[in-house]
Assembly symmetry: C2
Homo-oligomer: 639 residues x 2
């Protein structure tokens, strides 16, 4: 049979049973939640609008947030009752609007979540007004000068035992609270983190509730709010700089679950060391990182769905010279998109394990920081790469705003440096691994054969078991490399830790954290493969994971060869097997894409994913006006 | 001396003599032109404006284009008198505004350049009105359905020998002229490419002048213009879809330098084969690719300048725990930015050679297509990568619009798929190389030692000579690989060329084209090194090129090891030498950045590159209003 015909048949294949099975594996929560969110997104407020002024973009993001709040699909009390629901909400919002998702994460995780974690009974009336946005919050943590050195923040909260008040103050330009989401327009309340000065002594950073706007939404006395203006994307987010000029707040506004100041002005804390107090109160940044991963993962699936559906209809030149072949048939398109689809699934499974760890950390609390950080960084970078490739592979079709792919690029950039610069978080991951190694609690991945002994003699290394061993081995090797270097440079050569860490081992840090991340993602994927009940599902999972592993091996071939972990003869087969693995997954492309929870939303939001020729029959002005994108208010979405 | 102190001294180093020498190497045209453009950009119309509606963005881009036109720094007659000036203009515009640059390239290269290439004396009065925008043009070439298969376009021009007119017609949705820059707002004239039907016979595609708007800027009878709406960036460009419904134009509107239709209706052409005529008339797309490279190269230098200048002031945690160390001191920042700086220089030199080839192709005409295409693709991809890394390494500072880095990301995406999808152009490059090989005119790079024999036995491979041989060898090897595969699959296995090309050798095509591109860039760089007169300049060039080569080797280590071109022992030194090469270039960072022609513009356009603390002292609203960005109309730019 003609080659084009074979590929075109593969592109049409669809097995609803497999797709259903995958959908249940991709979404790690109660399935009925998805339908509720999808139903909500049919509200016209969620249809894309373009070319609207900054003010209107922010208002739109707020209107959407209000709709989400009214739908009562999430409550801050879910932190206690249904912790997974926090992440589920972020996944669903990541499919629709990054600005909305960001405003949501600040209101419900950073603001609401910090309240849940650090409040006491006296704050309950305040907290009951968070879900419905009566108390609309911002999270005043980062300062301009201390983005990556938050413990050194300059904002102060001085306690005065005569008036029983704290005075919140920003002494310098560098101490402005910076990038504060919800700050420029919608927040009336803030949680402000400040150095807590009691009886002349700095007791470290604590959170305080500070009202920032009055009932008329004017800034309160002493509070200066400056709009941060236009950004490279996500302009529905109203970011601000906040300065406090001797703002007095009642003692009770201190969030005092962990530390407290008594009326008489005694600082009370279960943690004696000031430096250690910091990480306890800044706790919500941690779940925040998983929230970002949730958003990025969905946005990534959105991008892949749009790119694949467009590529399946978009015709390019065929054997006859006519434009009769869908571009998804080309090896060029498959080699670009299929590995991204495979990796997205593998990251999804690792993320799902992190979601479980978030919901039930008992006995594994220490694993949270390194796991959540590496999930955040690696999903964010993957989104950046995937959205970029999807945009490029859709050509001009992907450059238009109605393709939605720009959301992926802007969302990735926001995710990569918000709530911790990814590269700095990777340093944190390695510090945690090193500390856990010392405490003998870092669990290393179990290999079925040791690469140092067995694999270099193997001439065939592309079976899944060997691939797994190779990926797992990288973590072992990078840990040994790092500990050897640190031992040599610090113990033997007497160098300062800071100097070695900041000036000599940057790449080694990133490599070790990456190796750890790749391992936990792969573990997550293999667990799904092993647990899969149907043979058909097992087969798709197997092909997906193997393609991902082959891609990893291909990307790191130099390292494996240089270190003698594999031999050159074996390496020569990798590329051909990889090419075959790409082709082998193509017949399951619809099974996977339809298993995302996005296609129903795509039908409304991304016209090029539907029928790009039909879309181009209509005057485009209809798609760019402010009235509601593709939504015809008389007839509903043009499906 | 303390490590931080050493690095901070390196970051301050500056040698004006070296910098001046580099500037003269980076800019390959008469130096006095630069000052004229920089002077022009001091006009307030060029200061960034944010949060302005789509209409206003387009008007602003037009107003800027008008200023450029009035400055008379470029004329379409420069195609004859000073061809380099075309590219120089694009380089200068790439520093300022991608929308402006794109409107410029369409008006002056695609529209004006096609006129220059295909007009005859009868068109001279029309052409004299192009420089001053009286004839404001668009280039109606691509159709929705034939983006990558333009010879099959559907628009027709039927000649009627009774009325001596052509009738221009778009028969289908897919035949709409698509992505037409200047179309939505500003063009009154178009060059329309159409299948030319004379006496019932399709004589192939020719260009015709078609008036699209009347004196009141209303679309002419039969011309439907639809606005393409909002895009992921570059929204100052007014893209449109154009449809023609039986639009009659005089016979003389055919651009008849190559082919002609006589009054009596005889088609006259020096090229007998219809298919071969196409590439002759579509000639301007080729220089257009070099124009895109020019824009992307400057935008890349803009991004690096902003990122470096910001990183030199932005303070992070230091040895003491205080935020007292510029982030540019960190190895993390250096490892991210220095290789990009080195590669930008190397690409710049290769681009400069292409600029010379454009200006003086005599005897080397056949090299133009493969060279210009590979320069366009690889500079565009490099910009995408560089802008992405710069944005990420500037954290939140890079996410604000006033950092200008978003221009790099959007500009790269536009460049990567405009005037030929980069990946498809790489296929074109390989087809050209294969054809030139058959004609024995493809010049292979000369190696001083043959890697197959000498290098695998070498344990040290990081000297520049060996690195050069390794990079050059890749082209030899990829050509052999490709010709072997094609021979085997087509000659021996009897497969169709189309099937092999589109379904089996995608990666090999990209690899070969890339190897060719890497070679011509490196040749360009080495030529500058060899010609450099001062030892100091030689040293900086040497360090720059060696870092670039080490980065290339590191990226492709797997390939070199797998194919036995280097040995594992030698490979083990690569990483350490690479790390040292990064550090070795740091003391020249100011020499290089100041050698770009951008810093003077940056002072006006990108406040975070100037003094980010001072910038944050001012209300940000000043920076986002529509009145002119950082420009204070009373006092001039706040420098």
């Amino acid at each position: 049979m003609e080659q084009t015909k074979i590929v075109m048949d593969q592109l049409k294949a669809f097995d609803p049973e497999i797709s259903k099975g995958l959908q249940q594996l991709f979404f790690n929560d109660k399935q009925e939640k998805v339908q509720k969110w999808q139903k909500l997104f049919e509200d016209p407020v969620f249809y894309p609008k373009y070319d609207i002024p900054l003010d209107a973009q922010r208002q739109l993001a707020y209107d959407r947030l209000k709709k989400v709040s009214e739908a009562k699909l999430f409550s801050i009390f879910d932190f206690n009752n249904d912790p997974k629901n926090l992440l589920t909400a972020h996944e669903m919002l990541g499919y629709t609007d990054g600005s909305l998702a960001t405003k949501f994460t600040v209101q419900f995780n950073l603001f609401g979540g910090t309240l849940m974690a650090t409040s006491t009974d006296r704050h309950m009336p305040f907290m009951k007004k968070v879900d419905d946005l009566t108390n609309m919050g911002c999270f005043c943590f980062s300062e301009l000068g201390y983005g990556n050195n938050a413990p050194k923040m300059e904002t102060t909260a001085h306690y005065d035992d005569k008036t029983k008040t704290f005075t919140i103050h920003s002494p310098t330009t560098l101490s402005q609270k910076y990038w504060i989401t919800n700050g420029a327009c919608h927040a009336n309340q803030a949680i402000v983190f400040a150095q807590t000065i009691v009886k002349g002594k700095n007791e470290g950073v604590n959170p305080f509730i500070v009202r920032v706007r009055d009932d008329n939404m004017k800034p309160c006395a002493g509070v200066t709010i400056e709009d941060m203006g236009f950004k490279m994307g996500l302009n529905g987010i109203d970011n601000a700089k906040l300065k406090f000029n001797q703002v007095k707040i009642p003692r009770e506004n201190m969030l005092n679950k962990i530390n407290d100041v008594t009326e008489a002005g005694d600082f009370v804390s279960p943690i004696p060391k000031v430096t250690q107090r910091f990480f306890k109160v800044a706790d919500r940044l941690l779940s925040g990182r998983l929230c970002i991963a949730a958003m990025c993962l969905s946005t990534c699936k959105m991008c892949l769905c749009v790119a694949v559906k467009y590529s399946q209809q978009r015709l390019g030149v065929g054997l006859s010279g006519e434009s009769d072949t869908p571009i998804m048939a080309y090896q060029l398109q498959q080699n670009a998109l299929m590995p991204l689809i495979a990796r997205t699934a593998v990251l999804n499974f690792g993320y799902n394990d992190a979601k479980d760890l978030f919901a039930n950390p008992t006995g594994r609390e220490f694993e949270q920081i390194k796991t959540f950080c590496v999930v955040k960084t690696m999903v964010g970078w993957h989104l950046q790469n995937a959205a970029t490739v999807c945009r490029e592979r859709c050509g001009g079709g992907g450059f238009t705003a109605h393709a939605q792919l720009h959301q992926g690029i802007a969302g990735a950039h926001s995710g990569m440096t918000a709530e911790g610069d990814n590269r700095v978080l990777m340093q944190k991951v390695v510090k945690d691994i090193l500390a856990d190694l010392q405490q003998k609690r870092h669990r290393l991945p179990a290999m079925t054969k040791c690469p140092r002994k067995g694999i270099p003699s193997q001439d065939f290394i592309t079976d899944l078991e060997t691939l797994t061993n190779l990926i797992y081995y990288r973590e072992h090797a990078e840990i040994k490399n790092m500990t050897d270097i640190l031992k040599k440079k610090i113990m033997e050569e007497g160098k300062k830790f800071f100097d070695v860490w900041m000036y000599e081992v940057s790449d080694e840090i990133q490599n070790l954290a990456t190796a750890f991340g790749e391992r936990i993602f792969l573990e997550g994927a293999l667990n799904r493969l092993n647990a899969a009940k149907s043979d058909k599902l097992k087969e798709v999972l197997f092909k997906t994971i193997r393609l991902h592993c082959l891609h990893q091996l291909k990307e790191n071939l130099g390292w494996y060869l240089m270190n003698g972990v594999i031999n050159a003869k074996a390496a020569k087969y990798v590329d051909a097997d990889y090419q075959q693995a790409v082709k082998a997954l193509v017949p399951h492309i619809n099974d996977i894409i339809e298993a995302y929870d996005y296609p129903r939303i795509a039908a409304m939001n991304a016209p090029i994913a539907r029928d790009y020729v039909k879309f181009n029959e209509q005057p485009d002005s209809e798609n760019v006006n402010a009235a509601g994108g593709l939504f015809d208010f008389k007839k509903g979405p043009k499906l």
